[in-house]
């Protein structure tokens, strides 16, 4: 008896929840810096809420695969974060991503979480053309590896913007 009511309740809740979701207003709260490549994209490599909560674990997991196993086409790469989220400075370069008000530091400072990645990692994407020579012949492979992104600019994202917004809103509510 207990279990059957449980199932019924759950089903009811799912129904009610879906209705509530569909009728709730779309939130567009975003921390993405305007002028970065990410600003023009539908979502990160995973739903924003998930990335916000788990990016440190994902990055740690994939860094071990990159460094120790040499698997470079990982889904979550810090270089990928920087590549997408660094803001252009208008002179052909980028603002350091850990500078005041930039994507990484904005949130980390707000939450008072030490951001140590950039003691060692580059704070800006490489300027494509300056190192093209040294990477000649492997440019294709290299870029794919370095980009670390699944959703490409010229491809249709797998989730519609509406769906993304809904997921986003749900996670914010929680």
């Amino acid at each position: 008896m207990h279990s059957s009511t449980g199932i019924l309740r759950t089903l009811g809740l799912i129904l009610a929840g879906s209705i509530a979701l569909l009728s709730s207003p779309v939130h567009s709260g975003t921390a993405v810096t305007p002028g970065s490549r990410a600003a023009g994209m539908e979502s990160c490599v995973a739903p924003t809420a998930e990335i916000r909560r788990n990016h440190m674990d994902y990055l740690k997991h994939d860094r071990n695969r990159v460094v120790h196993e040499g698997v470079r086409d990982v889904k979550h790469s810090l270089a990928g974060c920087v590549e997408c989220h660094a803001e252009k400075d208008g002179n052909g370069g980028y603002h350091p991503i850990n500078a005041d008000g930039q994507f990484c530091s904005g949130c980390h400072e707000h939450l008072a979480v030490n951001l140590t990645c950039f003691q060692c990692h580059s704070k800006e994407p490489d300027r494509k053309h300056s190192d093209a020579a040294s990477l000649s012949g492997i440019r294709n492979a290299g870029q794919r590896g370095r980009l670390g992104l699944l959703i490409k600019l010229n491809e249709a994202p797998a989730l519609s913007s509406e769906e993304m917004a809904q997921l986003h809103a749900l996670s914010r509510e929680e």
Binding site: P47, V67, E69, V71, D73, C120, I138, G142, L150, L159
Partner: protein, 258 residues
């Protein structure tokens, strides 16, 4: 009443959230699978079927040429490191990272002069890996000896253990790095055979390219385990030696005409 229901309520919310997320994931999944399957051919991890190594022909290595050193510094962003203000040459040379260095020798008996580049010899049994307390110094499946600077504590025991003086400790803040070669204060680093290039499918190192470009062709990089590789064939033809062979570390970097 509300208080009693709250934990339940949380669970339900979580459940709803999970369900929706799962649905979302299901719709993304095909995309992921597609990309991963596509990339696999070029993005495999380091394999133990391969052992990267090098053969250096010191006969072809030219006096006063630093093409390999310069290329290494460019490739790995070592040249981006600034000398501390007011530091003299002697201390700067002792403290700055040198992944590869040129050495000029003269035989005490025969007066024969030899030039050669020295770098991490990528031993099969690396002493630096044995002594590292945290496992930050490690050997990849494909024989590349490198440092995981995420877990390096900067104790420098590996530098004490290395017979080749191949390792460098970073003595000051690093303001600027390249994306492909991260580095920072307080960790140890050394030649990693341009691991970022290897992983991206390249078959040459920066030093080899530079040496070849200058027409010397003193450096040959390749797979020691592949009998058909240019490197294996060259090793079979010419007699080569390991530096400090007495330690029986079975180095991946070999020298001819030394």
């Amino acid at each position: 009443m509300t208080g009693k229901n709250e934990p339940n309520d949380m669970k339900r919310r979580e459940f709803i959230g999970r369900t929706v997320l799962a649905a979302g994931a299901a719709s993304v999944a095909p995309g992921i699978l597609l990309t991963v399957a596509n990339a696999k051919s070029e993005g495999e991890g380091a394999s133990s079927d391969i052992r990267w190594g090098m053969l250096i022909d010191s006969n072809k290595c030219v006096d006063n040429c630093t093409a390999c050193v310069d290329a290494c510094e460019r490739e790995n962003g070592i040249n981006l490191l600034q000398r501390p203000e007011g530091q003299g040459d002697e201390m700067w040379n002792a403290q700055r990272p040198q992944w590869i260095r040129k050495v000029k020798l003269r035989d005490r008996q025969t007066d024969e002069v030899t030039n050669l580049p020295m770098m991490c010899q990528h031993c099969e049994f690396p002493p630096c890996v044995d002594v590292c307390p945290t496992g930050a110094s490690f050997k990849r499946a494909d024989g590349i000896v490198m440092v995981d600077r995420h877990i390096c504590i900067g104790c420098r025991y590996c530098m004490m253990a290395c017979p080749y003086k191949a390792r460098s400790f970073i003595h000051k803040n690093v303001e600027k790095q390249t994306v492909r070669s991260p580095r920072g204060k307080g960790c140890v680093e050394s030649c990693n055979l341009c691991v970022h290039r290897i992983d991206a499918g390249a078959t040459t190192t920066a030093c080899q390219d530079a040496c070849e470009k200058d027409g010397h062709k003193a450096i040959l990089f390749g797979d020691l385990k592949d009998p058909e590789s240019q490197l294996s064939k060259a090793l079979k033809e010419k007699s080569s030696r390991q530096i400090r062979a007495d330690l029986e570390l079975n180095t991946g970097v070999r020298y001819t005409s030394l």
